[in-house]
Symmetry: C2
Subunit: 331 residues, 2 copies
């Protein structure tokens, strides 16, 4: 499979070929691709590619190989739930095969379904979410929950796109999103491509723009949503929600139901800690002393009392979340 190397955007558009599960896992770990839904799609396609090329003399050997590959993929990043959901879905489908050939075909079909469904889910999230966006509104978003974070269209930015397609004038304020700069590099890039007005701010300016009344609503994506309504999303989301809550600015989470972890507890959430060099350097240039200690969490946890609504492809969940999310998942 060919993926766009998101580490080089917006300066270079370079495509990278991923040949199997190992290369897909590495691309996910090293953030060649990122964004919870896209990670799920790339992992599913990586597993399908692995299923196609796996040498196996029996169905058992084949299934063992698929399971080994799925473990490699699931160990690539720990937080985004879509990764586990997508890989498990392919494994479950493959496990029902009666021959190796049927297994290979099943893996490819299921991975392609996951990819197709992701775009459809985003379009539906956009439809549901656009209802919350008024004509002339300014939406604050964090990180990149756009076409580049999904198989296409985007979750949070899908909501913006749908509102724009309805003829509403919508402006976006995008945070730069240190350390990986997804906002400055990706959100700015994809909104400009679509002609949607975008203004960049440092992450630290979220209090200023909300306090000054420059933001009508916050819309972000999610990496994992618990039934309690706790939301794990890109680090920096929680401070935005905390400030928005103080000013009565609605805080919406846009995410497919594949992001919802039906069993986990927020208290036990694993938040990935990444390497120090991502913080010590920006675009390769040192910004601090080389040996300084660093804490570099990829995500943070926003509690449900700060979440106005969770917008999914199956509809909108509001508080109390245990009820509304269980209903959406038909649990």
């Amino acid at each position: 499979m060919l993926v766009l190397d998101q580490r080089k955007l917006p300066f270079e558009e370079e495509w990278v070929e991923l040949k199997g599960a190992g290369e897909a896992a590495t691309a996910i770990r090293e953030m060649v691709v990122r964004g919870a839904p896209l990670i799920g799609v790339v992992a599913a396609l990586g597993l399908a590619a692995e299923a196609l090329r796996l040498e196996a003399h029996s169905l058992e050997e084949f299934l063992a190989g698929v399971r080994r590959a799925s473990d490699i993929l699931k160990s690539s990043r720990p937080t985004a739930y879509n990764l586990f959901w997508a890989v498990d879905r392919v494994v479950r489908r493959v496990s029902r095969a009666r021959t190796v050939e049927e297994g290979r075909r099943a893996a490819v079909e299921e991975a392609l379904s996951i990819m197709r469904e992701d775009v459809e889910a985003n379009m539906r999230i956009g439809q549901y979410g656009a209802e919350f966006i008024g004509d002339g509104d300014t939406v604050l978003t964090h990180c990149n929950a756009g076409a580049l974070a999904t198989a296409g269209y985007g979750t949070a930015l899908g909501v913006v796109r749908a509102a724009v397609e309805q003829g509403k004038a919508v402006k976006v304020i995008a945070t730069e999103t240190r350390p990986f700069l997804q906002g400055a590099r990706l959100t700015v890039f994809e909104l400009k491509k679509d002609g949607i007005p975008v203004t960049l701010i440092p992450d630290s300016a979220v209090g200023y723009v909300i306090e000054k009344g420059l933001v009508d609503e916050v819309v972000v994506g999610a990496d994992r949503v618990f039934l309690s309504g706790h939301v794990i999303n890109k680090v920096g989301t929680y401070p935005i929600a905390a400030v928005a809550g103080r000013h009565g600015v609605p805080f919406y989470v846009a995410a497919p139901t594949s992001t919802i972890d039906p069993k986990g507890e927020a208290e036990e959430a694993v938040i990935e800690l990444r390497g120090a060099e991502e913080v010590r350097r920006v675009m390769g240039k040192p910004i601090t002393l080389p040996d300084v200690d660093v804490i570099n969490p990829a995500f943070d946890l926003t509690p449900p009392d700060l979440v106005s609504a969770i917008i999914t492809e199956r509809g909108v969940a509001g508080p109390p979340y245990p009820e509304s999310l269980s209903r959406l998942l038909e649990l």
Copy 2:
């Protein structure tokens, strides 16, 4: 006067000579020097240098020249109150002179007093503030309110230093403080020089570290404090306060009384907006598309309900602030 060019720290220690008020104003505007107390000291010294070299044939001509120079200095940056306080103090003192020579001497004496008093004030802030820091505590600070932001010792970092001098084990978590990176460049540099353990985080990680219980108290400086208890400080302070408030983590502001604006209203506070290039580039490297719109506020406004105490050289003010701050200022 010689000042350390803080734009080049921690990579180069380069001293710059400032010859008069114009050069001092430029150095303040371009952030060769920054930090509210240091801005006040450099402006006072710049005005004194100007007073020394001013050509004047009469006392009137001299005083007019001093006033012109003071206007130039006061227009360099709009938010930090110490700048206005320090310049006005020198002008007031000079205005009482009966000869040009006496005026020149008065300007120098007053500027040197301001510088000396700033260090003394910081030491006293440290003494008052250290009471709030427990042995083994981790202090979160934002930006640089250290020796480099003052004439020496520091306000927020003065509190840390005083606690360390009392024999307490204190660790600091420093935010990188985009866009100017005062935390990554200056706070890390000066704490490491003093052997105080410091860990760097992206600005976006403040919610994570507080939610995870890694922070015992927040201590920041201030650029302007209103009698209402509203605090203007480096952009990003308000989101930290909002999160700290939700978790019962005390939020302390350490600032000399020269930071307190006895007449202004928070609602009318002028928050400096700086140029887009500070955000579009990091250490000279582009991080986004060159033509993206930017909002780059230098400060934000933290409301008094989030401020646990304001630590000054005259003692500690707690809520309700109109009473406690008026008492400290003897209004």
